[in-house]
Assembly symmetry: C2
């Protein structure tokens, strides 16, 4: 592969935005520019779609200062796409890369994007086109194989933990049932992160439902009732992707019309699941104050809630991808591996090991009840949330003796 001409490298971003995806972008841009062999760093606008459309911007002309500002801005600065190239699409990609003399392509993205990189890599080899392609991981779902965790997840997890810490306080002040639906079709990591918002033993979320466990409506109602009986209030975290024992999504059961996006994934957005669960609790259990939120897009793009650990790691995977590409001799995915309490290292992993696969929560992270996380999960997640996590405090209740005692 020494015949690769690295003078022009191309970077693109795919899939859903995260709070730190631009750290990876900027890490890759700045690291590329350190190599003598690299003359130009191009960015494709809106992922692979931008490649076939030749929508390139010259990132070499960008100032370092603005790049550093962009790195701290959430959501893909180059734009994103949901396109998943097939063979024909890949041929179009080669044609454009060849025409522009691009020798190295970095794609920042999740499962689907890593699969795109895999196809492009295989097609390049088949077509004997000298190209180095690298997948740089990101996804708030934390569902990439091999990786201890994925850039973007820690910041989203922090947002969810902070949201539940607040929701718990709100629910304490005005008691009742509160349900919040969290992103996650197949993996419950982000929903489970709600547990990190707990501080005092009676804090919520009292119940956590992840897609890794079959959701049973009767069991759910019994859980909520038991929690209300015990605490007089109940905070519930629910993954959007919860499904019954037959793997039928609870949300899909309701939706009369199911919208499918380009990847064939069922779109589970909207407030339908939250509103249905609310109605269930009201009608079946008779509780009056039942409220629900669907966290939605804000949990992945909110400006001003980021984990510094996540920022650092996202930057590093971008840098490492460039080093591994330009000094190495094979394509792959940069993966994160935990080495201590808390430290990480990065490795180059074959694309087949990551591409298009989904990691879910291991059993050791889910309590036996199926509605809580374990200490192992807390130990796993806590260091990822970064420094300066806000903390909640309570008044100590030094009760005054009643006089009238009515």
């Amino acid at each position: 592969m020494s015949d690769i001409d690295f003078s022009k490298v191309l970077i693109a971003q795919g899939g859903g935005p995260t709070a730190v995806i631009n750290q990876s972008l900027v890490g890759a841009i700045l690291e590329s520019r350190k190599f003598r062999c690299v003359d130009r760093v191009y960015g494709a606008l809106h992922g692979v779609r931008g490649i076939v459309n030749e929508d390139f911007v010259d990132l070499t002309q960008e100032t370092t200062h603005n790049l550093e500002m962009v790195a701290c801005t959430p959501s893909s600065a180059l734009g994103s796409t949901r396109d998943k190239p097939d063979l024909k699409y890949c041929h179009e990609i080669f044609e454009v890369l060849r025409a522009h003399g691009i020798g190295c392509f970095f794609y920042v993205g999740g499962n689907d994007s890593s699969d795109t990189v895999r196809i492009v890599s295989e097609e390049a080899q088949r077509a004997r086109y000298p190209l180095r392609v690298m997948h740089i991981p990101k996804t708030i779902d934390n569902d990439l194989m091999i990786n201890d965790h994925t850039p973007g997840f820690p910041s989203a997890a922090r947002w969810v933990a902070q949201a539940f810490a607040g929701a718990n306080l709100d629910n304490w002040a005005l008691p009742g049932v509160y349900i919040a639906v969290v992103m996650g079709r197949h993996a419950g990591f982000l929903t489970a992160a709600s547990a990190l918002g707990k501080k005092f033993p009676d804090d919520g979320p009292h119940l956590i439902y992840v897609p890794e466990r079959a959701f049973d409506t009767e069991k759910f109602l019994a859980d909520v009732k038991a929690t209300m009986d015990r605490y007089g209030r109940c905070v519930v975290a629910v993954s959007e992707g919860i499904a019954d024992a037959n793997h039928t999504p609870i949300a899909a059961k309701l939706a009369e019309q199911i919208e499918k996006d380009a990847h064939g994934n069922v779109h589970l957005g909207g407030g339908a699941l939250a509103d249905m669960l609310t109605e269930l609790v009201k009608t079946k259990l008779g509780f009056k104050r039942v409220r629900a939120d669907t966290f939605g897009y804000v949990q992945r793009s909110f400006v001003g809630c980021v984990s510094d650990v996540d920022q650092r790691e996202a930057r590093e995977v971008g840098e490492k991808a460039v080093q591994l590409a330009l000094w190495g001799d094979r394509d792959g995915s940069v993966t994160i591996h935990r080495t201590g309490f808390y430290s990480v290292d990065y490795q180059l992993t074959p694309l087949e090991a990551v591409a298009g696969k989904t990691k879910v929560m291991p059993d050791e992270f889910i309590s036996e009840s199926g509605t809580d996380v374990t200490d192992a999960f807390r130990l796993y997640l806590r260091p990822l949330l970064g420094s300066g996590m806000p903390d909640a405090f309570r008044l100590r209740h030094n009760h005054v003796a009643k006089i009238l005692k009515k």
Copy 2:
């Protein structure tokens, strides 16, 4: 009123929680303890409900350090209530206050709470019970009369601005129509705050719908279409309380079952409005990628998003309430008045001027189109958001010449 025995004072919190309501609580507690005449500071748990139930805690036994930590924690630390006392309820309040020898009562709350304070004040005078009662303002809705703005609003406004800044970036990366429903039944201040998330001229929110302007579905669809034609994307901010020309809430039009809370307010929560607007845009305009969020409870209780200006002012209104109560000779509401660019002063305002009334956005804050804010509103809101507002940055698009030009 010199016959008032100030040795015991009582504090309670009512209505919906805010990010800074405990600043006011702690301000009032610590200031009370500076007065020689005050021996005990009690807190009533869950507002006026806690008074009639004699659910008092002795805040004098609390440490200053923990009070300072509680001050920085969102959501009513004493708990809240939606109860709105009638005459009978007020007599029960007096009975308890008299039994416990309480001479001064501070109630932190919004419109409904200020009306409670008014009734309690009038009943005390009628019953010739020597009592000083003070209303300490708070509400994320920013709808209290006389006040330039109300504690709690700036932090909630900051949250909304940060959420829209992120949603705009997300919508730029993956273009389409994005709609977010913001809290606010009658006043559009919080929804209008979304405009402060804009930085670049083509940033969203491109359309802002507040309850102060009649909502017309056809006009809405035309607005969205025009924005899509112009920018290829569209970010929309909508108040939950938008209503048609006959003052019928758009959300209520849909809801087959309308739930009423204890104050007779229609509960407009849930994802119904967002989901209906999404369906409208999809079916009537044919756009495929239409997404919606309902910000819900998280916008008022999120831990870790607060305006330092809001914190300071919330603390001060608590302190001023105590000073005005113990050095003054009349009941009232502490109100915030803007005196410069930017500075404020506090005054004691008669309860009748504030109680149970609703302030809405003045015409000068709403653009002629009815779907944007004016510079006057930006000038009004910007200083309230406080320091360290996160900023969004973009890559400059130095386009690379196309070669294949397919």
